[in-house]
Symmetry: C2
Subunit: 215 residues, 2 copies
């Protein structure tokens, strides 16, 4: 393992913006399926994985740290433990591939960062993690660029649709169904009765087979 990946994860009642189409048990299973997709790509890229969990959780292929504090405090606590390069990657990026992660860890800059949609940050790779602090809130992409500048870091902004696609809302499920071949998260959605549907204006959405709803 070359580098260490930190993956924040909320096992209990996650992804509440999907409550309109998935009940709590389903959301927990779906979040775990997306996590499996992320962990698989992380391990395949040559990184080891530590889950920063809000509640107790078990995983065969990852270390676990249960942290009660906020997302940023948990990440910054973990960064303080590191003496080696670190990758911070969100657990809701099911389209990420091992090759995508390698685009970050092979950077020649001090830091590589992947923006998410709406001003967010989805992945950060840090060669000197102890100098940095995470600020995942609001327009975090601009905040992280500013923090990198304060640290004197050179920065590589990685342009990636797959890694920019975090899954929070019903419409985001379209991306998994269209681009998520072989992903556990797509298997979950398909076995739960989800499929794509095109409305009269040509816009693509998701629908669920009512026979497979358990709400």
């Amino acid at each position: 393992m070359y580098f260490h990946a930190l993956i924040p994860f909320k096992p209990t009642n996650p992804k509440t913006r999907l409550s309109c189409i998935l009940n709590q048990e389903e959301r927990e299973a779906f979040a775990r399926a997306m996590l499996e997709d992320v962990i698989a790509s992380v391990l395949k890229s040559g990184c080891s994985a530590t889950l920063l969990c809000t509640h107790p959780f078990k995983h065969e292929n990852a270390l676990i740290a249960v942290r009660k504090e906020s997302l940023n405090e948990a990440i910054n606590w973990a960064l303080g433990q590191f003496h080696c390069p670190a990758l911070i990657i969100m657990a809701d990026l099911p389209l990420v591939t091992a090759g995508d992660i390698q685009r970050l860890i092979r950077t020649e800059k001090d830091m590589a960062i992947v923006p998410g949609r709406g001003g967010g940050t989805n992945v950060i790779f840090l060669k000197k993690p102890r100098c940095f602090h995470a600020d995942f809130y609001g327009a975090s992409f601009l905040d992280h660029l500013r923090i990198a500048e304060e640290c004197g870091f050179s920065v590589d902004v990685i342009d990636s649709f797959r890694m920019s696609t975090d899954v929070d809302e019903k419409e985001d499920l379209v991306e998994i169904l269209i681009h998520g071949k072989k992903r556990k998260s797509r298997e979950f959605l398909e076995s739960s009765g989800f499929s794509i549907v095109i409305d009269e204006k040509g816009r693509v959405g998701v629908q669920r087979d009512p026979h497979k709803e358990t709400l």
Copy 2:
């Protein structure tokens, strides 16, 4: 100029989904600003540009073809004229860079394609355009993959956040304000009083200075 780029463009009453925040004159100016961003990157990448316009339009640095038929019919008419490799690129991708376009035109495959969000297609590069036909409607990304397969084309799917970001709705303006440094479209938005705003849940949106509204 190595390759020829086709850019469909609607100069009159474009981007109606932005009507809630921009009047028709403003939407036309904004669409032109995004077009300028796309043309600048196309020319810098080494391609020449032809605009496929729904209405008469003039441009110093591009050829113009006014076509009354639908988007797909216009593109397929143009592809029929080509004897050289062709790039089809949408006019509402203001974040695209010349380097991004070069990722497509340097492909070793027969075709390179960039998905947009929601199942769409934002850019296609074709080495043998006359074998292909465009089908920009609904889940066009999957349709274009199927058409490529029917043509026997090898396909390169290009993973790009910037090129996946087409601008149709108010929330898409966030991407220009955050990632659109030096873009004409960002200049337009800023001079029209737009800025980013973060709500109480940490979500990023846009707001407009009421003194600069002309609705």
